[in-house]
């Protein structure tokens, strides 16, 4: 609706009213992010139950302010009642395939806040490198980081990330993925990984974490004790994806263990054996956990409040998986159609936008178990030289899908808004790439 510019006193104040104090706390899965924004002649009021809602409302408010040809800032009379559709709206960054400097992470958190993302899923270590500086096991990063001097996250770095996120209403969920994806843990923790065998002789190559030795569980307990203290969120992501069984199969001690336990040739049972013990350890530390879908697919015994992270995307099977997970009573997170690292030519944001997370056969109770989802930016081909343009504005499509009502799906309208939002990002100093041909009033100056 059009509004004539008001010749009266300009509005100079936005009153922010928060009913429940909580500025010193951390956001959680249960945090209420609803807000109400009223802009009328002579008064602008933002009210929210919690500080987290106020943050969301402030972002919306900032997007409502326009500037006319004379340089005057204006805002239309508005009344907005807003709240997110899904409580878990995340972005995954991978700092193992490539190290990401602290400023890149902090900048990403800023832009996440502009998009109302509220979870930073920090896939902090993996096969290629271990940049997390552990106080309990300093050798892990000393031996496992790409460069122990320059490519690590110190305790102070980690605290900065957590606080920077908190101030933006973003939860930091750390992922220490085991038992697979752990090659970089080996050099700093001798005896942790399974030695692979060539016949009767160790080949010199290592595989997943060794599930049959007690030292493994001692190590894991101490590490997660530290991780539980360092990361304040209730949830930890424990990984559990893509465990390659070939190394376990080659190891004679493990084969003996399989026999002893009566697992037969089913190494999924061995994987479950490990994961179950891990889950118990983490539970006893007072944390909840999120796991990749394999943990569910392989029939591991899980706590009822486990969150299953659905990521496999072969021929839209993910919707079936979402149905299965929720049917079994578990909460689910969707990432499968949102692997933003899988770039392709053209406007791929549209496919991401069109995803409907609840488009599966299931009851209302089942669908209520879908907590939300995460856009993933795996790091095999991504580092600070291309992170920001690859993330934005594409991730914005996922953000809207997770925040807005299911009925908000018109692609043409979304294009117009996202293209304008991209220009806003440029104005805010974010190196977001173009959606399609055109220009912004404030172009990026180039590097």
């Amino acid at each position: 609706a059009e509004n004539e510019p008001s010749g009266e006193t300009p509005c100079t104040e936005l009153l922010v009213h928060v009913s429940t104090p909580g500025c010193d706390g951390f956001p959680s899965l249960d945090s209420k992010e609803s807000y109400k924004l009223c802009v009328s002649k002579g008064s602008m009021l933002l009210s929210a139950e919690t500080i987290w809602g106020a943050l969301r409302g402030l972002e919306t408010f900032s997007q409502l302010v326009g500037r006319d040809e004379n340089g005057t800032y204006y805002i239309n009379e508005t009344e907005i009642v807003d709240f997110p559709r899904f409580p878990h709206r995340g972005l995954l960054l991978d700092t193992s395939r490539h190290y990401l400097p602290l400023r890149a992470i902090l900048e990403t958190l800023d832009v996440m806040a502009y998009n109302k993302f509220n979870v930073f899923h920090w896939h902090i270590v993996d096969d290629p490198s271990f940049p997390y500086e552990s106080s309990t096991f300093p050798e892990l990063s000393k031996q496992g980081a790409f460069n122990a001097m320059t490519h690590v996250y110190t305790a102070s770095d980690v605290r900065s990330v957590i606080e920077h996120a908190r101030l933006r209403g973003i939860r930091v969920i750390a992922e220490f993925d085991t038992p697979g994806h752990t090659l970089s843990w080996g050099p700093g923790a001798p005896g942790l990984l399974t030695p692979c065998y060539m016949g009767k002789v160790p080949s010199g190559v290592y595989g997943p974490i060794n599930p049959i030795v007690n030292s493994t569980y001692k190590f894991v307990t101490r590490l997660f004790q530290e991780v539980s203290t360092v990361f304040p969120d209730f949830f930890l992501h424990l990984g559990g994806d893509e465990v390659d069984f070939t190394c376990w199969q080659s190891n004679p001690e493990i084969r003996a263990f399989m026999k002893e336990k009566g697992f037969g040739e089913d190494y999924k049972k061995l994987e479950s054996f490990y994961i179950q013990r891990l889950l118990d350890i983490v539970s006893s530390l007072g944390k909840g956990y999120i796991v990749w879908q394999e943990v569910f697919d392989n029939d591991v015994k899980l706590r009822p409040d486990t969150i299953i992270h659905v990521w496999k995307d072969n021929n839209l099977q993910y919707l079936k998986e979402m149905a299965n997970v929720t049917k079994s009573g578990y909460q689910a997170l969707l990432s499968a159609p949102w692997y933003l690292n899988r770039i392709s030519y053209g406007q791929d944001w549209i496919e991401a936008y069109k995803v409907e997370p609840l488009n599966f056969e299931g009851s209302a109770e089942q669908k209520a178990l879908v907590m939300g989802g995460e856009a993933c930016m795996w790091g095999e081909y991504v580092d600070v030289t291309n992170l920001t343009p690859r993330l934005w504005p594409r991730a914005g499509a996922v953000a809207e899908r997770l925040w807005s009502n299911a009925t908000v799906r018109d692609v043409e309208d979304a294009y117009a808004r996202l293209a304008e939002f991209r220009c806003t990002l440029l104005r805010r100093g974010v190196q977001a790439q173009p959606l399609y041909v055109g220009y912004c009033d404030h172009e990026f100056g180039g590097v």
């Binding site: 030519y345 053209g346 406007q347 790439q433 173009p434 399609y436 041909v437 220009y439 180039g446 590097v447």
Partner: protein
């Protein structure tokens, strides 16, 4: 000649021990009487060089300055750092020259405006990769950023906005910055299609489309039947010929949509008069031939996209045909060279077509001469161009999208045909990528620590 690989003899003596030999000087000797420092690089310029690295003085010899530039780049790549921060270079003797003479990168400044900084950074990156042609696809449907001296309305009305233009000074800066790096700048003013933005500032240039008897209000390609079209083009290309010093101008000629011409009564009448029947390709060729004549008269050679050849226009003997359609491009190369025309290959190197994973490998494994043809024909393939069309590219993502993927094309066009080992290429390319990052950081620092634009230009120009 094409086909000889560079011969490299590595010295036996590693420079590590006490009393190690030191390199005090790199002497650069240009052998030609006129080294060419004040001139512009050309298709026929020599880029060969001979580099001898030995203590205490290394010698870089080249027939022309362009070879010296290539040799300097190679020398800079030979220098490496040890763990203690000392700079080392192995004794070497290198005899090097490019396999193909035309090694280009296409940038598109119409789908998105590219600020000067971006273009200049990419000229530097090109030089690091021994590219020697910037194919500047400067205008197209979406915007006309080129500020014309004779027709200022073209950019006044056709640019995205008044500050998103290239002034004559900007253009001169690009040309000079390129020249100092041995890079030719070939501008492309693509007609008769891809010209929507031209119509904003030049009335009665584009063909009015019709629905029955009525003009619809929309416009199609350049109108080939009016004399005013050719008057305009004659003046316009006179300007382009003097602004851009390269011997060649790219005239485009791709993807002409005939539907608007077909709808226009004057055009239909012209077709009848000319006896073209309903073959609009003939009309396109009629137009293109006229433009080729105009540009020839200004003593410029022409490059065209393959459709111009495919639609049987009468080309000049030295017209270069750029093969871009991916479908069966080997067959097209045979046809073009079989008809006696010079060709440049881009079809397998559309770098704007991004995909997940290490796609540089597919660019690297292209063998340009893998097409049916005689030795004589193969000599007519003078090189290729990596194209970065701008639909989804601007300064926010250009550099990481182009590099180091374009480096794969750069090596394919410079090095001998037997340099094909992917594992070895991967090792060298990852190293090269880190090196390019260091160089770009240095250049950005230089830029940010420079006071005036004058100083800036000078600093940039002389790196």
């Amino acid at each position: 000649m094409f086909g000889h690989s560079l011969r490299r003899t590595w010295g036996r003596r590693p420079l590590a021990a006490r009393g190690e030999p030191e390199l005090f000087q790199l002497q650069v000797v240009i052998e030609a009487g006129d080294p060419g420092c004040d001139g512009h690089p050309q298709l026929t310029s020599s880029e060969a060089y001979h580099l001898t690295v030995t203590e205490p003085v290394a010698v870089l010899k080249a027939p022309e300055v362009w070879g010296a530039l290539r040799g300097l780049e190679t020398f800079s790549q030979l220098v490496h750092e040890d763990d203690f921060g000392s700079f080392l270079v192995n004794e070497s003797e290198i005899n090097d020259f490019p396999r193909f003479a035309h090694r280009g990168v296409l940038l598109d400044t119409s789908r998105h405006y590219l600020p000067l900084k971006s273009i200049l950074t990419n000229l530097d990156a090109m030089a690091f990769n021994k590219f020697n042609v910037l194919h500047w696809h400067i205008v197209d449907d979406q915007s006309f950023p080129y500020q014309s001296i004779y027709f200022p309305e073209l950019s006044d009305k056709g640019a995205y906005s008044s500050n998103l233009i290239y002034t004559p000074t900007d253009v001169r800066l690009v040309i000079e910055y390129a020249r100092l790096r041995g890079i030719r700048v070939i501008p492309e003013f693509d007609t008769p299609g891809h010209t929507q933005s031209w119509g904003k500032g030049q009335k009665d240039l584009l063909t009015p489309c019709y629905s029955g008897e009525q003009p619809t209000g929309s416009f199609g390609p350049v109108n080939p039947v009016w004399n005013t079209t050719y008057d305009f083009m004659a003046t316009f290309f006179k300007e382009i010929s003097s602004v851009f010093p390269d011997e060649f101008i790219h005239l485009g000629g791709d993807e002409v949509d005939f539907s608007c011409w077909k709808s226009n009564p004057e055009v239909k009448q012209f077709m009848k008069k000319q006896g073209f029947g309903i073959d609009y390709a003939k009309l396109e060729s009629y137009y293109v031939q006229n433009i080729l004549d105009i540009v020839s008269s200004y003593n410029k050679g022409q490059m065209v996209w393959q459709e111009v050849f495919d639609h049987k226009a009468q080309l000049k003997p030295d017209t270069i045909v750029q093969v871009w359609m991916a479908n069966n491009y080997a067959h097209e190369l045979s046809s073009v060279t079989g008809a006696g025309y010079t060709a440049v290959l881009s079809a397998p190197w559309y770098l704007d077509y991004i995909s997940y994973g290490q796609d540089w490998k597919k660019y690297y494994t292209v063998e340009p001469l893998n097409f049916p043809g005689s030795e004589k024909q193969k000599k007519l393939l003078i090189g290729g161009e990596a194209c970065l069309w701008g639909e989804f590219v601007d300064a926010t993502n250009l550099t990481p999208r182009l590099w180091p993927r374009a480096s794969a094309v750069g090596e394919r066009l410079w090095s001998s045909s037997n340099v094909t080992n992917l594992q070895d290429a991967y090792k060298r390319l990852t190293n090269h990528r880190c090196r390019m990052l260091r160089m770009v950081h240095l250049l950005v620092w230089l830029r940010e620590n420079t006071a005036t634009t004058e100083e800036l230009s000078v600093q940039w120009l002389y790196r």
